[in-house]
């Protein structure tokens, strides 16, 4: 366990996944504003991609924004270590596929013949491919950013702000809490598996899959034990006897900066229309 001083030194807060810089503007943004921005930017990107030629500038702008916020929130390093390689491979495959199956444009940069068929790569197909992929990448990164930079307590606070029933909000929080515990247990179990000479680090894909399957036994045992304990902890506070829950959840207020971000989101949403 880290001490208070150590926490102060690193100035990080725990989020749903990993942790983020506590002083970050994006991390401290109201989740409602954050989700609104995510939705508006995503809709903007989708609109830009509905056209025969997607708006590359718009998509790149959103992508730059996403990367900028990832850096600003201190979550970029987790992304690099965890999802980025997977995301890049997926995007590259998507781009190759798009170029193969959407032969557009008339000035080929490169032509490849294969089994009697000729594949042309044109300026237009490359432009459209980059436009589409940058659009999807920006949406994926914005979504990851939102999840990686938002504290679970903030989400619960936002749900509460939206006047959802307490039981629903509480169970949402319980699920988030359970995921949190599960992630910690899974990490410990994976380390124990490595110590036994097995694990997902093997070069052999079958061994890796088999090792992953083996995690289910200790993880299930752990989940059952945790859920019994959590059930008892809940009941020892009188949950099933409660007739009326009073409200206490600390509601995170919307600040000017949050409204500014929403306004910016609206502007970004309207931008593709204006460009049209």
């Amino acid at each position: 366990m880290e001490s208070k001083n150590q926490r102060a030194e690193k100035r990080m807060v725990k989020t749903i996944l990993f942790s983020a810089r506590s002083s970050s503007f994006y991390v401290n943004m109201n989740p409602i504003a954050k989700f609104a921005l995510l939705i508006m930017l995503s809709v903007g990107v989708v609109i830009s991609m509905l056209h025969a030629v997607p708006d590359l500038q718009y998509n790149l702008l959103v992508l730059v924004l996403a990367v900028g916020f990832l850096i600003e929130s201190g979550t970029i390093k987790y992304l690099v270590k965890s999802y980025l390689s997977l995301l890049l491979v997926a995007l590259m495959v998507m781009m190759v596929w798009w170029i193969i199956f959407n032969q557009v444009g008339s000035n080929p940069i490169l032509s490849v013949s294969f089994l009697g068929a000729t594949l042309h790569i044109t300026y237009l197909s490359l432009y459209v491919g980059i436009g589409k992929v940058s659009g999807y990448a920006s949406m994926a990164l914005m979504t990851l950013l939102t999840i990686m930079s938002t504290r679970d307590a903030d989400i619960i606070s936002a749900l509460n702000k939206l006047k959802l029933p307490f039981k629903l909000v509480f169970f949402a929080s319980l699920i988030a809490r359970s995921l949190n515990i599960m992630a910690d247990d899974l990490n410990s179990i994976k380390q124990a598996q490595f110590a036994r000479g097995a694990g997902s680090n093997s070069d052999n894909i079958f061994k890796r899959v088999s090792a992953f399957m083996m995690l289910s036994i200790p993880l299930t045992t752990s989940i059952i034990k945790r859920s019994v304990d959590m059930g008892f902890a809940l009941e020892s506070r009188g949950f099933s006897k409660t007739k009326k829950f009073s409200n206490f959840i600390d509601e995170k207020r919307m600040r000017y900066s949050d409204f500014t971000i929403i306004a910016f989101g609206i502007f970004m949403l309207l931008l593709p229309f204006m460009a049209q």
Binding site: M1, E2, S3, Q6, R7, K10, M12, V13, K14, S19, S22, K77, K81, R151, D152, A153, I156, S173, L174, R177, I181, D185, S188, I189, Q191, A192, Q193, F194, A195, R196, G197, A198, N201, S202, M214, I217, P218, T221, S222, K225, D229, M230, F232, A233, L234, S236, R237, G238, F239, S240, K241, T242, K243, K244, F245, S246, N247, F248, I249, D250
Partner: protein, 855 residues
């Protein structure tokens, strides 16, 4: 009204298989008083937690599997007068009745704080129970603030909405859970092993909170604990559970003093219990501990080639936390090294680097001949280094004990008959052969731990890292696991033992590495660590009870080096027994010594007075005062305080009442000078108090190892000689009865054949008088010097060590009140005067002049 009243309660857990298991609780009848601090202890699986859940109303009401009401549950549990669980006959069939969970009147704090957090901010965690109570926001805020302050988390209140519970330290987490229940203002708080998963600092924080709860609240507290020191410190009464049955309910001191009970029912006892022949449960010695030339022979760390070599190792987590900084360690092959430090100090990170689980951020290392510079070389380490994790549930990957062992073998490419033979061999070694086909998930915690060790050692690793092997285990299981680890070490396996248990470190390890804030702050032997108070403080560690006793003995000059375990203390006492011889001295010998001393005193001139040190110097002092016809005074000094507990310093009593003449010449008289610390302290005190007077020292006997050499000595005796005087017959027999049967025999022979019986008549008269009075005096007040001999004899008859010698009635002023005092005087007049001045409810007066005894 009782806080809890349980009447003949039985409970059996239902299961999916339908096969009846044993009762988890059997015929429990127990009453816990309101406001009482009640402890529950017992070995693992004895039903302690189940009993807590039953009191909290969670069992049977929250068990969702179908119950067999015919013989699965019986009896009744009432909490605060309300039936929580009872069995009622409804239409000829048994049915469970009762209110179930008694929230908010009853709060339940469980072992693992992590599983009890239901929210993701400290504030929400605190408010949850209060929200369920339907309280107004303002009241919730007020209660939350008060509860957090009560447990010492007040400083977190302001930012509580932004702090995730998992960001807290172990101790803070458990205190947060306690606070979340305190905010609900319960009348009963149940704490189920609240410190077992915590590091020393966390334990200390929770213990301080419990102490505060005990002193500041009127709550009934039920504490389940293995730790005997906590029980002794806090519990008013405690219960011992064993295999679901209630074995005993009594005061903790009575339970832990009952060796037969604690051994039979596998109760974790204080270290002092192993030394019960020599020390009381409150750590006060039962025997006189003599200074000796004893030195303990400890195993020397074998010098062999290094198997772990690390230079400049550093490690930082992704979020920037520096877990390790510049670690240089070299561990020799075949050694057993303890790795200690509080949570977050870096010991787990270091161990994971050694076992290849984590890669260091900086530095170089060589582990078992491998230089793990990349992922590929690092993945070879598990074949040489095994890691047994703290939670055995996290390392069980299959559904049978045999498969679990095979899992390790298969990963190393060992299959077929060879693998099966290795499985049988290792199961035999860890005593799990009869469980070969069982599902590991359903093994007991100790068995799971042994299985985890078996799975780790089956590949014959060169290095074995064991993380907290005894946490939450009972005494029997802990010993079993540690003996297994010791055996492996004897076979040549290098062991790194990560632990918070300093008793284990003292008993099993010869080298300790202490980590603090990612750095190695100590590398040395356990005894040097335990004597290093600054490192202990820095790393929030505390020395074992044996060392604490040693420190006291070092302070009073009895020991030179610390004895760090009960085993070493027993060796010390065995040595003392083998070396000590008895020398007997009679009244005649004292008279001879007096004559010798008187001849030596001539050179000093006639003294102004004799100051006798009670009780030893009383007889010789009174004889000298009478012969020299000078004033007689008395003072006392002891390492024991008023209640008989050993103290670090020598306490000198009676010095304030000394009315010495200025510039007088005084002789301080004692019977035997042993270590000399008492006489030295007395002389120092006298010289400070009476700087104008001159003091000489005189003793009948002295030992060569004394730190002070008296001015007049009649006789010198060996350091290992135990001198017994005829006037201390009873107390010598009492003392040797407890500690040395061989010497007791010698003692009995002497007293039955060679006892100097010159005071036999007076002894008999006094004995009869005390018996017929039926009183039990706490102090003997005697007229000095005339009745000193009789007072000393009375002290032996009654077993009273507190004596006050008075030269006149004024002397008695300033002494405290006693319930009952024995007054020994030489004539009627003095007897009456003393009687009127002594502030005691009961008084027995013994008038020596006519040997009249009365009230």
């Amino acid at each position: 009204m009782h806080a809890v009243s349980i009447n003949d309660f039985y409970w059996r857990y239902p299961n999916f298989t339908g096969i009846k298991g044993d009762y988890a609780l059997k015929a429990i009848s127990l009453e816990i008083n309101e406001g009482e601090f009640f402890g529950i202890t017992g070995p693992s699986g004895s039903g302690k937690s189940t009993l807590c859940y039953a009191i909290a109303g969670l069992i049977p009401h929250q068990i969702k599997l179908p119950l067999n009401l015919d013989d699965g549950i019986k009896g009744e549990i009432r909490v605060l007068g309300e039936a929580v669980t009872a069995i009622k006959n409804e239409n000829g069939k048994p049915a469970i009745t009762g209110v179930g969970s008694m929230s908010p009147e009853v709060g339940l704090v469980m072992q693992d704080p992590e599983s009890q957090f239901l929210s993701m901010s400290v504030m929400n965690e605190m408010s949850l129970g209060l929200q369920m109570m339907g309280l107004e926001k303002s009241e919730m805020e007020e209660r939350i603030k008060a509860a957090m302050e009560m447990v010492g988390l007040g400083e977190l209140y302001q930012g509580a909405s932004r702090i995730h519970p998992s960001e807290l330290s172990g101790g803070q987490k458990q205190r947060l859970v306690i606070a979340s229940f305190l905010a609900m203002r319960p009348k009963i708080l149940i704490l189920d092993e609240p410190t077992s998963d915590l590091d020393p600092k966390g334990k200390l924080e929770v213990i301080e909170t419990i102490a505060k709860l005990k002193s500041e609240s009127k709550m009934t507290i039920i504490l389940v604990e293995h730790n005997p020191e906590l029980m002794l410190k806090f519990a008013d009464r405690m219960a011992v559970l064993y295999e679901g049955s209630l074995i005993a309910v009594d005061k903790p001191s009575k339970i832990y003093s009952n060796n037969e009970l604690t051994k039979k029912y596998n109760v974790y006892t204080p270290e002092i219990s192993e030394l019960s022949e020599y020390f009381s449960i409150d750590e006060s010695p039962k025997v006189t501990i003599e200074k000796s030339g004893f030195s303990i022979e400890r195993a020397i760390q074998k010098h062999s080639e290094s198997i772990i070599s690390m230079k400049g190792i550093g490690f930082s987590y992704d979020d920037g936390t520096k877990a390790l900084e510049n670690i240089d360690i070299s561990i020799e092959k075949g050694s057993l090294v303890a790795l200690v430090g509080q949570n977050g100090s870096g010991k787990s990170t270091l161990s994971k680097i050694i076992s290849g689980i984590l890669a260091p951020s900086s530095g170089t290392m060589e582990i078992a001949g491998i230089k793990p510079t990349n992922k590929k070389t690092r993945s070879k380490l598990p074949m040489h280094v095994s890691y047994v994790f703290q939670n055995p549930d996290h390392q069980i990957f299959t559904r049978s004990v045999t498969d679990e062992i095979k899992y390790s073998l298969n990963n190393a490419g060992i299959t077929g008959t060879h693998a099966s033979e290795m499985v049988s061999g290792i199961l035999e070694k860890v005593g799990l052969s009869d469980k070969a086909n069982e599902d590991p998930v359903f093994l007991g915690r100790g068995q799971k731990r042994r299985l985890a060790v078996a799975s780790s050692i089956v590949l014959k690793p060169e290095i074995l890292i064991v993380d907290e092997p005894t946490t939450g285990q009972d005494y029997h299981m802990s010993t079993e696991i540690m003996e297994l680890i010791k055996k492996l070490n004897d076979e040549g396996v290098t062991i790194i033992l990560i632990t918070h248990d300093m008793r284990l470190v003292a008993e099993y390890c010869r080298r300790v590495l202490v980590m603090s804030r990612g750095s190695l702050v100590f590398d040395g032997t356990p005894e040097s660590l335990f004597m290093n108070d600054s490192i202990l403080k820095l790393s929030s560690l505390s020395e074992p009870q044996s060392v604490r006793l040693s420190k006291e003995m070092i302070n009073i000059g009895v020991l030179k080096e610390p004895l760090i375990s009960a085993k070493e203390w027993l060796e010390f006492f065995d040595f003392m027994k083998s070396k000590t011889s008895i020398a007997f001295r009679s009244f005649g010998d004292i008279e001879k010594a007096k004559l010798k001393i008187l001849s030596k005193i001539q050179s000093f001139g006639k003294p102004s007075g004799i100051i006798s040190i009670e009780r030893g110097g009383m007889i010789l002092g009174s004889m000298l005062a009478e012969s020299l016809n000078c004033e007689s005074y008395s003072i006392s000094a002891s390492h024991y305080n008023e209640i008989g507990a050993l103290t670090k310093d020598v306490n000198v009593n009676g010095i304030e009442s000394l009315d010495l003449k200025p510039k007088g010449q005084y002789i301080v008289v004692d019977e035997l000078v042993d270590t000399g610390k008492t006489l030295d302290t007395i002389m120092h005190t006298l010289k400070q108090r009476f700087p104008d007077s001159n003091f000489s020292t005189c003793t009948m006997m002295a030992k060569p190892h004394s730190i002070i050499k008296p001015d007049i000595i009649a006789e010198e005796v060996e350091n290992t000689t135990w001198v017994v005087f005829d006037y201390e017959k009873n107390e010598s027999i009492r003392e040797f009865k407890a500690s040395n049967p061989k010497m007791l025999k010698e003692l009995n022979e002497h007293f039955s054949t060679q006892l100097d019986n010159r005071y036999a008549k007076e002894i008999s008269l006094m004995e009869n008088a005390f018996k017929s009075s039926g009183k039990n005096p706490e102090v003997i007040i005697y007229e000095n010097p005339t009745t000193a001999i009789y007072a000393r004899l009375a002290s032996d008859i009654l077993g009273i060590k507190k004596l006050i010698g008075v030269r006149n009635a004024n002397y008695i002023k300033g002494y405290g009140a006693y319930l009952c005092a024995a007054i020994i005087s030489s004539n009627n007049e003095t007897a009456e005067e003393l009687k009127s001045l002594i502030n005691s409810k009961d008084k027995i007066v013994i008038n020596i002049g006519i040997m009249k005894i009365g009230e």
